[in-house]
């Protein structure tokens, strides 16, 4: 993993000191709330319904055990003993006091963490494939490029006051676990026939009020030209992105207005003028790459007797293995996904005790490596098959061994109206009701991959547009209502969901989802996922079933 050096640490110390002085100026009345709001937002500090919320950056979702333990400690000391992992792979504390935040930043800095650029109209936390360095599918380690982007974008003097927020995702696998096509910039690493590494550059995807699947503006960008090319994109956006209307300010609106070809032409013209003066030197890239090189793997047999025996002896473990273990590039190893979607729990929440259990397991069995996924789960990317049963047992004891990865109860939900000042409706209780409906794990497995994503308002923090079933909370004449969409996907086959029909009241949503699933089970053909069936049949049979019941 990447290790901060003295220079990185001094940056954090300077940031922490700056924010401490800003808080002091606000508390003394030297600056107004209006002025302070932009400053606190640049540090991920929001005012929500019940308290302040602090969003801590987890660059490309990568944590070490010391960091996770510190997050647990902060949760216990300054919050109510838990934290909430987000779709940006960050961690939010929901019960923070303004007067504590300078100290919290110092504690974060002590483990090389911060809240820099977790809010504001700047380049936000860069996300990457949570299986980076562990999956055999990838052509390169995307973390190398995510880290390079982290450094380049941190306090970028030209691009810290963009028209609107700006999000990067980097992946290097054909199977996209980062939702790259619905990001402001999605970078997909590819290898050319001659072996050269490059990026497919996707620009102008996004969700929110106007969802778009981003077009590819360059099929192959040589990797060593990344910085100058993204600088060209950001410059075109900074100059021409709309600033007159908050809802039309994202880069997706600019790309759609100009058209993909004209946007690409402007970027290429700007890129030609920039030249290679801002590209990272190969020595720095090599230094970053070196930080991610992993040498701790043992040579193991392809089959683990201990693992096979445990599966045969313990059906619950076998179920966990089926759903939560993913293939690793090294023989005898596995990727362990830890679901933060316990039935009836709040999606993405982890208690301080659970964080400590995961930190201990990572240290003992997982080479000290922990990842956060944009689907609000955790990953131990490097676990020996021999140790999988012990890991499972410890997770089960901590209440985080729910065997539901990618299944119907593995639901993304934003905090919604229970916490968020922007929300129109609650998201969490809807997720809880649906999960309860599908508590039967046999049935959940029969249903197979099904991604439900719930947002409490049109800003789409819960990614509802790209849910196989998307659920959007709306305010209809003062009541909580929910619009359902079908057929969205945030993966390599990205698409925006289609509206099912009129919005449903709060207490009918879980039943409607149940009905949708029944239609799928009835209609599906060999091996089809929910998404595949929907794409084949269209919305009609689903619509008919859900609204037939309403009459």
């Amino acid at each position: 993993m990447y290790q901060y050096d003295t220079l990185d640490r001094q940056m954090l110390a300077d940031r922490s000191a700056e924010f401490r002085s800003q808080v002091a100026r606000r508390l003394s009345g030297e600056i107004t709330e209006d002025q302070f709001k932009s400053l606190r937002l640049m540090n991920g500090l929001y005012l929500q319904l019940h308290a302040y919320m602090l969003r801590v950056a987890i660059p490309y979702g990568s944590l070490n055990p010391t960091q996770l333990r510190k997050l647990a400690w902060i949760g216990r000391t300054y919050d109510k003993g838990y934290g909430h992992f987000t779709t940006r792979t960050n961690l939010q504390f929901h019960w923070i006091k303004l007067r504590d935040t300078p100290d919290i930043l110092d504690h974060l800095a002590s483990v090389d963490m911060h809240a820099i650029q977790t809010s504001g109209n700047c380049i936000r936390n860069v996300t990457a494939d949570p299986y980076a360095g562990a999956t055999a599918e990838e052509v390169d380690d995307p973390r190398v490029w995510a880290e390079a982007l982290r450094q380049w974008s941190t306090f970028h003097p030209e691009f810290s006051f963009l028209p609107r927020k700006f999000k990067f995702a980097v992946t290097a696998s054909p199977k996209d676990r980062t939702a790259a096509r619905v990001h402001d910039i999605g970078l997909v690493l590819k290898r050319a026939r001659d072996g050269a590494l490059g990026f497919e550059v996707i620009v102008g995807g996004g969700m929110g009020r106007t969802p778009y699947v981003g077009p590819t503006i360059r099929e192959f960008l040589p990797v060593n030209r990344l910085m100058s090319y993204v600088e060209a994109i950001l410059r075109v956006y900074n100059r021409h992105g709309r600033r007159d209307n908050l809802y039309k300010a994202r880069i997706k609106i600019l790309v759609a207005a100009l058209g993909k070809d004209e946007f690409a032409r402007q970027v290429e013209a700007e890129w030609a003028k920039i030249g290679d003066s801002v590209d990272l030197p190969d020595t720095e890239l090599a230094r970053i790459r070196g930080a991610f090189a992993r040498t701790g793997f043992e040579t193991l047999p392809p089959v683990s007797d201990a693992f096979e025996t445990a599966k045969a002896a313990t059906p619950a473990f076998a179920r966990f293995a089926r759903n939560n273990l993913k293939p690793h590039k090294k023989l005898g190893y596995t990727i362990v996904e830890i679901s933060l979607k316990g039935i009836g729990d709040t999606p993405g929440d982890a208690t301080s005790e659970q964080m400590e259990v995961v930190a201990d397991l990572a240290e003992r069995y997982g080479q000290g490596d922990i990842r956060v996924t944009h689907e609000q789960n955790l990953v131990l990317p490097h676990v020996k098959l021999d140790d999988a049963r012990a890991v499972w047992a410890a997770l089960a004891e901590a209440g985080i061994a729910t065997p539901n990865i990618n299944l119907v109860s593995d639901i993304i939900a934003c905090p919604g109206l229970d916490y968020c000042a922007l929300a129109n409706a609650r998201a969490i209780p809807i997720a809880q009701h649906i999960a309860e409906k599908f508590r039967d794990q046999d049935r959940a497995e029969r249903i197979g991959e099904l991604k439900i994503k719930i947002s409490g308002c049109i800003n789409a923090c819960g990614h509802h547009h790209v849910g196989h079933i998307g659920i959007l909370g709306v305010d209809k004449k003062g009541e909580e209502f929910y619009q359902l969409t079908l057929g969205g996907s945030g993966a390599e086959d990205a698409s925006v969901g289609a509206m099912l029909g009129p919005a449903l009241p709060y207490d009918r949503v879980a039943d409607a989802v149940d009905t949708l699933v029944e239609v799928y089970l009835r209609e599906r053909q060999d091996g089809e996922r929910f998404l595949d069936t929907f794409r084949r049949t269209g919305v009609a049979p689903f619509k008919e079933a859900v609204y037939a019941e309403a009459h």
Binding site: D5, L7, D8, Q10, M11, D14, R15, A17, E18, Q22, I31, Q35, S38, L39, N121, Q151, W152, T154, F155, H156, P157, E158, F159, S160, F161, L162, M227, R235, N238, R239, R243, K273, S277, V278, L280, P281, T283, E284, R287
Partner: protein, 171 residues
């Protein structure tokens, strides 16, 4: 007269502003003037021929490319921040220095707050009209708040990757 802060050799100092900032409908003043792009395009030749120093004030939506051929004759380019959150002037500043090699004064005007000082200096601004009554000392502290920078910009500062390479060679 607005209070002007000048940054020279890393030191921020309060200075008297020798320029008169002329609105488009304002009668021409004696001496050095800063005018809008529209007024410069209409009267620039005359103003320059009178032997005075001339500056141009660009709104956030105007682009420095419009001045490229006049830059060698201009003493000041003033870049407007209509709102603190409007970041277009950063690109104008950077291009003035990096691409068009402008050596004159680049001035920040509008909603200019000390929180932006570090960013402004990095893209090439060297004079400032703070809207928050920041003193030269406060400006100085804001400019030098960060001991390191992560990326190349117009100020020529060596980014952390350069510092690392240097440390390695030294070791």
């Amino acid at each position: 007269m607005p209070k002007l802060i000048e940054l020279k050799d890393g030191v921020a100092k309060g200075v008297e502003d020798p320029f008169t900032n002329l609105a488009d409908d304002q009668d021409l003043a004696e001496g050095d003037v800063i005018v809008s792009l529209a007024r410069f395009q209409a009267d620039g030749e005359r103003l320059l021929s009178e032997g005075r120093r001339v500056g141009v004030r660009l709104q956030a939506g105007e682009q420095v490319e419009a001045l490229v051929y006049d830059l060698p004759r201009l003493a000041v380019v003033a870049l407007e921040f209509p709102k603190y959150r409007d970041g277009r002037a950063y690109t104008n500043g950077r291009l003035l220095r990096d691409r068009f090699h402008f050596r004159g004064e680049v001035r920040a005007v509008g909603e200019v707050l000390r929180e932006q000082a570090g960013f402004m200096v990095r893209v090439g601004f060297n004079t400032f009209e703070p809207a928050d009554d920041a003193s030269a000392n406060e400006w100085q502290a804001a400019v030098h708040r960060y001991r390191h920078v992560y990326q190349r910009a117009a100020d020529g500062r060596i980014p952390v990757f350069g510092e690392r390479a240097f440390a390695e060679r030294g070791a």
